[in-house]
């Protein structure tokens, strides 16, 4: 079974790379969704026994991350009439390099952390790399939506990490967490909608009015 799991891991990593270079908003959203689905499938393969609870839970997650979120995001994009491009702050070569660097760093970090040795190779580095990719999307993209996508990717990474550590959360907690994530995305979607209404585009560089930078007034 583990081979499948490891294949999924590789897929996830590749998705990270893809996201870091994908130029179009829609594709970026879809990639994130795909990654979410992959992450949702992961426990079924990794933990071996696909017992009832796990299946139900996985199904729920896949539904959420694979259907609901992309639908929300795409709808927000439609409503806001955001342009198709991502327009990043840094070039794609830089992005991919950073992504690779993140992966290397997380490999090193994962080796340093004395984590319980799971059967699945590279799952910890992959999760960390996913998180970093999420941060990459948040910090190097201009549009508000991409930042939400980034947030989702971070969530994916954290989720995979949780799987890696075999931390068996009680169902209630898992639900609470998922609910939060859902609400978060929902609220952010609303916010984006308002932003587009107020600023008639959703580039966040318009969102830098509030600052204490006292330009020009020396001392």
């Amino acid at each position: 079974m583990n081979t499948f799991a490891e294949l999924t891991i590789v897929l996830i990593i590749l998705l990270n790379m893809a996201m870091s270079v994908s130029g179009s908003l829609a594709s970026c959203i879809r990639l994130a969704a795909a990654q979410g689905v992959a992450a949702g499938l992961l426990p079924l393969m990794a933990a071996g026994g696909a017992h009832g609870r796990a299946v139900a839970f996985a199904a729920f997650i896949i539904a959420l991350k694979g259907l609901v979120f992309p639908w929300l995001m795409l709808r927000a994009r439609e409503l806001t009439g955001a342009r198709k491009e991502i327009d990043p702050l840094i070039g794609y070569p830089a992005s991919i390099t950073l992504c690779l660097a993140a992966f290397a760093a997380s490999a090193w970090l994962g080796s340093r952390l004395p984590l319980p040795e799971g059967g699945v190779a590279y799952i910890v580095p992959a999760s960390l790399a996913t998180i970093f990719t999420g941060f990459l999307l948040i910090t190097t993209r201009v549009k508000a939506i991409t930042q939400v996508v980034g947030y989702l990717v971070v969530e994916n990474g954290v989720y995979i990490f949780g799987l890696a550590l075999f931390v068996e959360q009680p169902l209630m907690v898992e639900m609470a967490i998922l609910l939060d994530v859902f609400v978060a995305v929902f609220v952010m979607g609303i916010a984006i909608f308002h932003i587009s209404r107020e600023f008639d585009h959703i580039d966040t560089d318009a969102l830098s009015q509030l600052s204490d930078w006292r330009r020009g007034e020396e001392g």
Binding site: P114, L165, V167, V183, A184, Q209, L210, D212
Partner: protein, 506 residues
């Protein structure tokens, strides 16, 4: 009990969404606040007087409570109770203020101007409902016995307060909301990582993420993982708490939100995040890593103090100034928690004092804003002439927040300093004192310039604040001053128990 306290505002919040009549909704808000407060007060007194800690009625359990050795989801230990009490009291005041505030906003409907901006308000139902949900979430934070639930509750507070910040529908508040939402969510995501690490650390012990379990089996925890867990939790909850350099969202959110929301954010929400940090520190302390966690706390506490001081110098917006003062106080609390021992007691006392004082100050700032229609310090002059009552509040709040006795904050600062000196942490004490002085100087300048002198605009027109909006601040200030003169025995007991429970460094 805990469940009752959580569910009560939840239900009335839902009701608030459904209710049509504004007056009825405001009444509902007030009643809920009072009920919540009375229940909490009774609970705390029971605890402080008779040490009535756990009980069957406390929270519901993972497995039926008649099974021995089962753990509660929700229940109150000393720190939880303390912060719950502060939150509830604060919400009571806020509810009164909000009711009057909403009435005011209704009385002159339509578009309002504020330094140039024209904006409408969000529907009142959303506002009141979110307020109540917010209360429920914060109660959850105070009561959670499971780190996962704690995390969920904290994230819930973020999401529920976002609409509150965006009550005034204009660009600035929207920007603030967006930053708040994203930065805090990212931070909280890191906290989730921290939880996972914690769980991994407790894996062998089989404790899961139950606080009681973790504390019970603390020796068994893998120290390396625990350290990682603490770092992630600290960064995560520290972001929510507004410690530098994670504080960046705080001035924006606090300055753009309506006064009542700023008061709740600064007075209650930051405490909740602080509680999260304290929980992490609690586990570390139990596992004998107190020096590790304490070092980090002190370091970032000092950083926050310095940052706040530097940003208060030459600050141009008085609500932002108050926000930075919150950062400063969070720094002080972190220092106290890091030093541990008596300083922890000081930190908790400081948390109480800061919440009440800062809430009162934000209430007052709302009145100043109403009187001048601007947040620019340079445009606010001669408040004493414009409205003596507000000026008195404004000045009193300044004196209390800067720790001028009689004030609980003074005691807190003093106790923390004394502990630092007793530990021979000279550098800490030195930086602490110097930047406290800088903060004092900066705030003094601003408050003198705003309160005294002649109003800029002529003809000078008096501003009569509605009593209901003055009373809460007054009440809080009196409480804080009284706290500086007398720490009642039951509160002392709770504080001591809380400090003891968290343990802290050495």
């Amino acid at each position: 009990m805990a469940v009752v306290l959580i569910v009560l505002p939840l239900l009335s919040g839902a009701a608030a969404f459904l209710l049509r009549d504004d007056a009825a909704r405001r009444r509902l808000l007030l009643w809920t606040a009072w009920l919540h407060f009375l229940l909490t007060a009774g609970r705390i007194l029971a605890y402080g007087r008779w040490g009535w800690a756990y009980s069957v009625a406390e929270g519901f359990r993972e497995t039926p409570f008649w099974l021995p050795g089962a753990w509660e989801w929700f229940s109150f230990d000393a720190p939880g109770l303390l912060f719950l009490g502060v939150t509830s009291l604060l919400f009571l005041g806020a509810a009164h203020y909000a009711a009057a505030y909403l009435a005011e906003e209704k009385r002159d409907p339509g578009e309002k101007g504020e330094n140039g901006f024209i904006f409408n308000n969000a529907p009142e139902a959303v506002f009141s409902g979110c307020l109540l949900f917010f209360l429920s979430a914060m109660t959850g934070v105070a009561a959670a016995r499971h780190l996962g639930l704690l995390w969920a509750a904290v994230e819930a507070t973020t999401l529920l307060s976002a609409p509150l910040i965006y009550f005034h529908r204009h660009k600035r508040s929207l920007e603030a909301t967006w930053k708040y939402l994203l930065i805090c969510s990212v931070g909280i995501a890191l906290a989730l990582m921290g939880n996972l690490f914690m769980g991994a650390a407790g894996l062998r012990g089989g404790a899961g993420l139950h606080l009681d379990g973790l504390l019970a089996g603390a020796e068994g925890l893998d120290s390396q993982l625990l350290k990682a867990a603490f770092i992630f939790l600290f960064v995560g909850y520290g972001t929510k708490m507004g410690l530098a350099p994670f504080h960046t969202w705080l001035p924006d959110a606090h300055s753009e939100a309506p006064a009542v929301v700023s008061a709740l954010l600064s007075g209650a929400l930051l405490n909740c995040a602080f509680l999260g940090v304290l929980r992490a520190a609690q586990v570390c302390g139990a596992a004998g890593l107190a020096d590790f966690s304490g070092g980090i706390l002190v370091l970032f506490g000092l950083a926050s103090l310095v940052t706040a001081a530097l940003f208060m110098l030459g600050q141009r917006d008085y609500k932002r100034m108050l926000a930075y003062s919150s950062i400063e106080h969070m720094g002080i609390l972190a220092i106290g928690a890091g030093l541990g021992g008596r300083a922890l007691y000081g930190a908790l006392l400081g948390a109480v004092g800061h919440s009440l004082t800062k809430a009162g100050l934000f209430f007052a700032s709302g009145l100043v804003l109403a009187a001048y229609r601007t947040k620019q310090i340079k445009d606010v002059k001669g408040l004493l002439r414009r409205s003596p009552a507000v000026a008195a509040l404004w000045l009193a709040g300044f004196l209390l927040i800067t720790g001028t006795p009689p004030s609980g904050i003074f005691l807190a600062k003093f106790v923390i300093l004394k502990e630092a000196v007793a530990d021979g942490r000279w550098a800490v004490a030195g930086v602490y004192l110097f930047f406290l002085a800088v903060v004092f100087a900066a705030m003094a300048k601003i408050f003198i310039e705003t309160t005294f002198g002649e109003p800029a605009q002529e003809p000078e027109r008096r501003f009569e604040p509605p009593r209901a909006m003055v009373r809460p601040a007054l009440f809080f200030f009196v409480l804080v001053a009284a706290l500086g003169l007398r720490v009642p025995s039951w509160l002392d007991a709770v504080l001591n128990l809380a400090a003891g429970a968290i343990g802290g460094a050495r």
